[in-house]
Symmetry: C2
Subunit: 346 residues, 2 copies
């Protein structure tokens, strides 16, 4: 498998136990467990409404087993900055609400049926309530920020929300266009994904009232982590087993989304391969066997390996950004989170 | 016609010129013209984006000839409170952005093809960018409020945005249900329409830093005006000429929306009429001639006249709320706006 780090099992030996375990989110999760439980409680409390369909639908996506990566960044950043208060909890919930609203609207936009291995909200209840509950969660997110009372946080997250929407529209425009440049692709990734990772991290530093240097370091950590995360996401669309990834493989391909694996495979492909990409992505003519062909082409042209290699560079930059903080279990857990991001199979 | 105030043309006479002209938005518009021009410029400036589709699509709906009633309420409230500064301009733009975002998402939710006599954004560009540009405008609205810097305004408008979304979901739930109560209908109207009218008006008083009494009076003005406006809107769906109203007649009926004219006609209808309403609205079985039948039933049962009569009571309550302010051309223009709301044919 392309993305397996140690394809050959090591011989049993005395050194075996020293072999580093695969990086995981578990250390970060363990360190933030208590905070995260309170964030989850707050999320449930604040998505409530007398209109029962709202908590039903919101609960469906909120409880669908997401990794809570973005709110964990807010929590971790605050703690890494030595913060001892409670403001980071509501802001982590606000960050997760923005993310959830975006997911609900994305699934409507993509007409997706499956997310994290479950039916999407739009597949269960239809597009209408999915759009409106997304709006509701977005508004709730701002109510949480207003109650917190920091105009700086409001400034950062309202701008981030605008940038995310811009990135999503930009992505629509680049769809079906094999002439999309890598620069345009990266702009989309930075806007639709990395901006919220960056803001989530910065907000943690803001509540801790730390110097600009630490704020900037955490924003750089989040931004690079977010890019790495999205690159791997785009790679997994061509390689993850459905049960593991929790969303349908080949969704991006079917939607004609132009992602890095495709850009690389297209650039390295011969004339016949480019004809294939143009037919399936630009003309949108896809038949049985085309997804398998696409998967075999991105593998054969080394596009998945190259995408993961680039993701690793962003993950390294994320880890490097944390150098301004002294060593601690939390800093190590964040470095491991960056490594996990590029090696994950889901 | 049901909603014509003077169905019989008066004889030409000496008194003719003293007959009050039909109420109009024109006096309000004239008094606010300079402010409104600056708000319009700000709207165009703040809906800009490097992603060209965003200003294109947003411009389509923003320039589609809406009455700008909600931002005018913010401008008028501030001026009525004697405000001489400029903060009301950006907040009026923020109010209009929230409204526009809501319209974009409504048209997706309703799958509408026509608004204010033009193709809807979703009909021209598809649902995807309409959802995302709505999100963008919503974020921009908050950016405008953050730049203004009042947490109180942010609090009111973020809560209003949540209430609007709740009202829209509530409306989805009552659709196709002829057992909907008038109380439930009014809750939907207050949430989806009147809340923003109320908030838009209150925000004007807030920037003027007036006592709670004036704030509350303006919020009451806005709320009652908003209810009157929506009741007439629901009535016009059964009576306006398409070219005049600018949206398709019978949209609500086709969507199975349960509005006051239907609730009244259903309550007053005989068994055969109720069977008709259940078939067309609950079962959603509509054929040729059914819209004409629905229009003739709401007329015959006096449901349009009754709806307009109720709208007039809300409009009177709106006008009464302004009694705390001294007489002035602006106050008179707002009273006329309330009268216009109930007598408008578009």
């Amino acid at each position: 498998m392309e993305f397996q780090e140690n394809p050959v099992a090591p011989e049993p030996s005395a050194e075996r136990d020293d072999r580093p375990a695969a990086p995981s989110l578990e250390p970060l999760f363990q360190l933030l467990k208590a905070d995260l439980a309170r964030v989850n409680a707050l999320i449930v409390e604040r998505m409530d409404s007398p209109v029962a369909l709202i908590p039903q639908l919101a609960g469906h996506i909120v409880s669908a087993g997401g990794k809570r990566l973005r709110p964990m960044l807010t929590l971790a950043a605050a703690r890494l900055c030595g913060y001892r208060g409670e403001r980071h909890l509501a802001l982590a919930a606000a960050v997760e609400f923005i993310h959830t609203a975006t997911l609900l609207h994305d699934d409507v936009v993509d007409a997706s049926d499956l997310r994290r291995g479950r039916d999407t909200a739009n597949a269960v209840w239809g597009n209408k309530p999915a759009v409106l509950v997304g709006d509701f969660l977005f508004a709730r997110s701002f109510q949480l920020m207003v109650a917190d009372g920091s105009l700086r946080v409001l400034d950062i997250l309202s701008q981030t929300a605008a940038v995310i929407a811009e990135g999503e529209v930009h992505q629509l425009i680049t769809a079906n266009d094999t002439a999309t440049t890598e620069a345009a692709y990266l702009e989309v990734v930075e806007a639709k994904t990395a901006a919220l990772f960056a803001a989530a991290s910065r907000v943690g530093a803001i509540v801790a009232e730390r110097p600009a240097e630490e704020e900037d370091a955490l924003e750089r950590f989040g931004r690079n982590l977010g890019i790495a995360y999205q690159l791997v996401d785009d790679m997994l669309d061509f390689s993850a087993r459905e049960s593991e990834f929790g969303k349908s493989v080949g969704d991006d391909f079917r939607d004609g989304k132009i992602t890095l694996p495709i850009l690389i495979a297209f650039a390295r492909g011969d004339a016949e391969e480019r004809t294939f990409w143009r037919r399936t992505l630009e003309a949108g003519e896809q038949g049985p066997g085309d997804l398998d062909r696409a998967i075999s082409l991105v593998e054969r042209r080394g596009a998945l390996a190259e995408t993961r290699a680039r993701a690793r560079r962003y993950a390294s930059a994320a880890a490097d950004a944390l150098a301004v903080f002294p060593d601690s279990p939390l800093r190590r857990a964040l470095v491991e989170t960056a490594a996990f991001t590029t090696q994950r199979g889901f």
